[in-house]
């Protein structure tokens, strides 16, 4: 195999990789290449244009290297021979002139035009605000003007410009839902803002993008975009306090919750539990996943999580509880029953 074929092989591999990326294997719910909003789509388009330009530069430069290999026994430039001035001119053309032109184009497109759509939205241009508070290692979402507080699973109305205000309760995190927009860091002592917008209903996965300690890998979130009417129903439900325990077992479970460490870290609106360390559990039964999208919210997983959270997510701040069998079953039943009254 000669050098040229080898280089050709690399090019093929590159194309193959790219195709694989586009076709995608598995879900693309966190992919920058499957945008579901205008800003994310602009960024994606910027990427394909840059990839195209890069492809041209790369193939051009590599074909020069191939030329160097083919002409390895002859000196001087093809056609022009040993003309030092011309060689320098080539370096100036490819090293200065062409980059100045193309980079100016890139600068204008990205940093003058696209950036307008991805910068923090002006206050008057948005229809609602959602507050994001990052914690090690979960997300708190608040809806100003409503009592609704939830964790890790954010509900938003579709086709609505949302002013997302982000801050942190501890270290630096970064809020990132690639299909909807670029990321924004959560910086101590600072409020950052970003536009959140979804074209159509769907579940869009996001994940903390700034390293934040032991469980950075398990600090994910889901954005549920719903038609505005359905969202309004959800918001009203979420704003309501927790349902009264429905039966004796649940009542016992509530007692276990309030008399153990649970209540000092978690809030259940409508009860005495008002801890601020962990997620608000008022309607935890409505969520699809637990522990910042780490495990499914099903009874078996929930039980395992309550008994031995350090096994599921080592290093997280929830202690394991030493409960009697009946207490544990009652607690499990109570927590699982924390759902919307209507639903």
């Amino acid at each position: 195999m000669n050098h040229r074929q080898r280089l050709g092989g690399r090019g093929l591999a590159l194309v193959a990789f790219t195709l694989l990326a586009v076709s995608g294997c598995g879900s693309t719910r966190q992919s920058t290449l499957e945008p579901e909003s205008h800003p994310a789509r602009l960024i994606e388009r910027l990427w394909w244009w840059m990839l195209g330009g890069s492809g041209i530069v790369f193939s051009g430069a590599v074909s020069f290297l191939v030329l160097a290999y083919v002409r390895r026994r002859r000196s001087g430039l093809p056609l022009f021979g040993e003309r030092e001035g011309l060689m320098t001119a080539l370096v100036v053309a490819f090293g200065i002139a062409i980059p100045v032109v193309t980079l100016s184009g890139l600068f204008t497109a990205s940093n003058i035009f696209v950036i307008q759509k991805t910068s923090a939205p002006s206050a008057s241009s948005t229809d609602m605000t959602i507050e994001v508070i990052g914690h090690q290692w979960w997300w708190e979402f608040r809806y100003p003007g409503s009592a609704a507080v939830t964790a890790n699973e954010m509900h938003i109305p579709t086709q609505t410009r949302i002013n997302l205000v982000v801050r942190t309760a501890d270290v630096i995190h970064s809020f990132w839902v690639p299909q909807l927009n670029r990321k924004i860091d959560l910086i101590p002592g600072q409020e950052n803002r970003i536009l959140l917008y979804a074209d159509r209903p769907g579940r869009y996965r996001g994940q903390c993008a700034e390293f934040c300690g032991a469980q950075h890998a398990h600090m994910a979130l889901e954005v549920y975009a719903e038609p505005p009417e359905r969202f309004q129903t959800w918001l009203a439900n979420e704003a309501a306090p927790a349902p009264e325990p429905a039966n004796e077992l649940a009542r016992r479970g509530q007692g276990v919750f309030l008399s153990n460490a649970c209540a000092s870290c978690h809030t259940i609106r409508g009860t005495d539990a008002d801890g601020k360390i962990g997620p608000d559990l008022t309607h935890v039964g409505e969520r699809d996943m637990l522990a910042a999208e780490t495990i499914p919210n099903r009874l078996g997983y929930l039980g395992g999580w309550i008994l031995d959270p350090q096994h599921v997510k080592p290093g997280n701040k929830m202690p394991g509880l030493n409960l009697s069998g009946p207490d544990f079953r009652a607690l499990l039943h109570y927590v699982d029953g924390l759902r919307f009254e209507a639903g």
């Binding site: 370096v91 890139l106 670029r182 993008a209 890998a217």
Partner: protein, 635 residues
């Protein structure tokens, strides 16, 4: 062409030089040496050791990431390993290998000097580097390695969120290392400005040395912000200050600014020596001079300079004002131009020369290909919205591994093959050399290329595991397989060079028909480098046959042989006109003792024994004073 030893007179002079420059043999010789070549070798073997450690860390991480939800490493172990991998490769491998090993060994040879300007400071630099490396690694061996990333962002690295001693190992270890790096940089600057061979005016300085000059200036100016950041951090952690503590009016972004004011010039500090090596290997193997020499020289210096104006492009997601971000994006695009100039100067030189694709040049071609990929993805980060989308994802990991491994490490690997005959006097095995190139090249591509894709598919950096339903598994598997192939390639290089050391055929002085002065002396070079100080009239001194014949005649006449003492010549900074003859210091125990005393100081700071630490600091000063009372030994 070697300098012929034609006359009994010349032989007598060489005999005298041998005697004057001889150092003790055995272990004592290595512990007390001030010979830049032996110090270079000490650096080389130490960096090789750390390279092995950093490589094993990488392989462990890749093994953990081989598939979703793997359980090879605990989250804490993974976080310590990725932190140590970054700290090791950047601080303990690439910079000391390029400056400490390659620069130390080659710069004095290329400029026709007999040693670095400050030989004992050079030795202190090495011993402090080795001691600080061990210091940082002690943390790993007692299970308390730093775990907040090589970038060590606060408040995650503050006492409140990270009471582990690991962060103190990091901060004090890097301060300790910074002492060494600063010394090395100052030494290069003075050496390159003042110890060049007569006739080697600045416009005849080999481009390799331009790269090291630029790197050294960048280091001198980049380290103070890092040191400031580290001192603030330790004051916060050990003494209850609040530089980074928002609750007391501090600012966590202060750390990021200070760190990246250092950290981005650092990227160019890492890559410039590689550029220098490329501009040494390309002319030799293309059998022609570099195209556009003055453009390349200016570009090397400009890269180092503009590198100081781009730091905030690491911070586009922290919520900077748009105008600030746009300024730094523009600067980040401007710095593309000096890099593009060098790239096309290399390519044009290859096209117009008659290149021999031997192992060293293959590594340089691999470097060029990888540098183009890493450079192009780097340009994309100057498009602010795209940066904000892909920063902190595997796309960035892909980018900087193409730059740091592909573009900075490949020339170092090529350089190992290129200068192996000079350093050892033996040739390596070409066939195995080429095989090792293909293994490392394919391994690197397989490891680092899929990271672009998996980053675009949404995989963040620094995660110890990932779920199986996001389509990331196949790419991660490829990366892990690639990392094993890459590891095999690196082992093959090591085996090839080790076997060649004992069995390789004799290389002679100049096996490549090289372009710079180091090829004119014997392989390996004698302690005094050159029996006669060469006189130079172009940047490609070794191709000026008449000059080298004139050197031989001057040896016969005893002109510029300086065989009366332990001496080298100093020339004027710009035009390299003979200025004076310098008496050079010889071997000494003091450098090692300084490093030992300073180790005590940092170890006691770490364990918060401040009074005892003060004692060791005093001891360090006493050793330095004692060293300066010692008169240089007469011949």
């Amino acid at each position: 062409m070697a300098i012929g030893v034609s006359t009994p007179e010349a032989r007598r002079r060489i005999g005298r030089l041998e005697r004057i420059w001889e150092e003790p043999s055995g272990l004592v010789g290595w512990l007390t040496t001030t010979d830049h070549k032996r110090i270079g070798l000490l650096y080389f073997f130490t960096t090789l050791f750390f390279f092995g450690a950093g490589g094993v860390e990488a392989l462990l991480m890749r093994t953990q990431l081989i598939g979703p939800d793997a359980g090879v490493l605990s989250p804490e172990a993974y976080n310590q390993l990725f932190t140590m991998h970054g700290v090791t490769m950047i601080f303990l491998v690439v910079i000391p290998m390029s400056t400490g090993a390659f620069g130390n060994y080659l710069v004095p040879l290329m400029i026709g000097a007999r040693d670095m300007a400050f030989p004992r400071m050079n030795a202190v630099g090495y011993w402090i580097y080795a001691a600080s490396g061990i210091f940082i690694y002690v943390g790993l061996f007692i299970g308390r390695a730093p775990n907040a990333g090589w970038f060590d962002y606060v408040p995650l690295a503050s006492k409140e969120f990270n009471p582990s001693m690991g962060i103190d190992f990091y901060a004090l270890g890097l301060l300790f290392l910074g002492v060494s790096t600063t010394m090395v940089a100052i030494n290069f600057i003075v050496t390159i400005f003042k110890l060049r061979a007569p006739g080697m005016s600045l416009n005849r300085l080999p481009l390799f040395c331009y790269a090291f000059l630029a790197v050294s200036f960048a280091l001198v100016f980049a380290l103070p912000p890092l040191n400031t950041a580290l001192v603030f951090l330790e004051l916060d952690r050990l003494a209850g200050f609040h530089f980074y503590d928002v609750a007391f009016g501090g600012d966590s972004l202060l750390w990021q600014h200070l760190f990246w004011i250092f950290g981005h010039p650092e990227v160019y500090i890492i890559i410039l020596p590689a550029f220098g090596i490329a501009t040494s290997i390309i002319p030799t193997f293309s059998r022609r001079k570099m195209v556009a020499y003055p453009f390349v020289a200016i570009a090397e210096v400009l890269v180092a300079f503009i590198g100081f104006g781009v730091w905030a492009h690491h911070m586009f997601a922290v919520g900077l004002a748009t105008v600030t971000a746009v300024y730094f994006a523009a600067a980040s695009l401007i710095i593309v131009i000096p890099s593009a100039i060098q790239l096309f100067a290399w390519i044009t030189t290859l096209v117009t020369g008659r290149p021999r694709f031997a192992t060293p040049l293959l590594f340089i071609v691999g470097f060029i290909v990888f540098f183009i990929i890493g450079g192009l993805s780097g340009i994309m980060f100057a498009a602010i919205p795209f940066d904000q989308q892909t920063t902190d994802t595997y796309f960035v990991v892909a980018h900087f591994h193409f730059v740091i491994f592909g573009a900075a490490m490949f020339p170092l690997l090529g350089g190992m093959y290129y200068w192996f005959p000079k350093v050892t006097g033996r040739m390596y095995y070409e066939r195995f050399g080429q095989a090792s190139f293909w293994l490392t090249f394919v391994g690197s591509a397989l490891t680092f290329f899929p990271m672009h894709i998996v980053g675009l598919l949404g995989m963040p950096r620094r995660v110890y595991t990932y779920p199986d339903d996001l389509g990331w598994g196949a790419y991660n598997l490829s990366e892990t397989i690639g990392s094993y192939v890459l590891g095999a390639g690196l082992v093959l290089i090591l085996v090839n060079l080790t076997v060649s050391l004992f069995r390789g055929r004799p290389a002679g002085n100049d096996p490549w028909a090289g372009d710079t002065l180091e090829w004119s002396t014997t392989s390996p070079p004698p302690e005094y480098n050159y029996a006669v100080i060469p006189v130079v009239s172009s940047p490609y001194a070794m191709w000026d046959t008449e000059d080298r014949e004139a050197d031989a005649r001057r040896l016969d006449r005893g002109e510029l042989t300086l065989e009366e003492g332990h001496e080298t010549v100093s020339t004027t900074a710009q035009d390299a006109v003979l200025d004076e003859v310098l008496e050079m210091p010889s071997e000494s125990w003091s450098p090692l003792l300084v490093a030992v005393a300073l180790s005590g100081f940092f170890a006691l700071l770490l364990t918060e024994h401040f009074v005892a630490a003060g004692g060791f600091f005093g001891l360090t000063l006493i050793v330095i004073a004692a060293w300066h009372w010692q008169e240089p030994q007469e011949a």
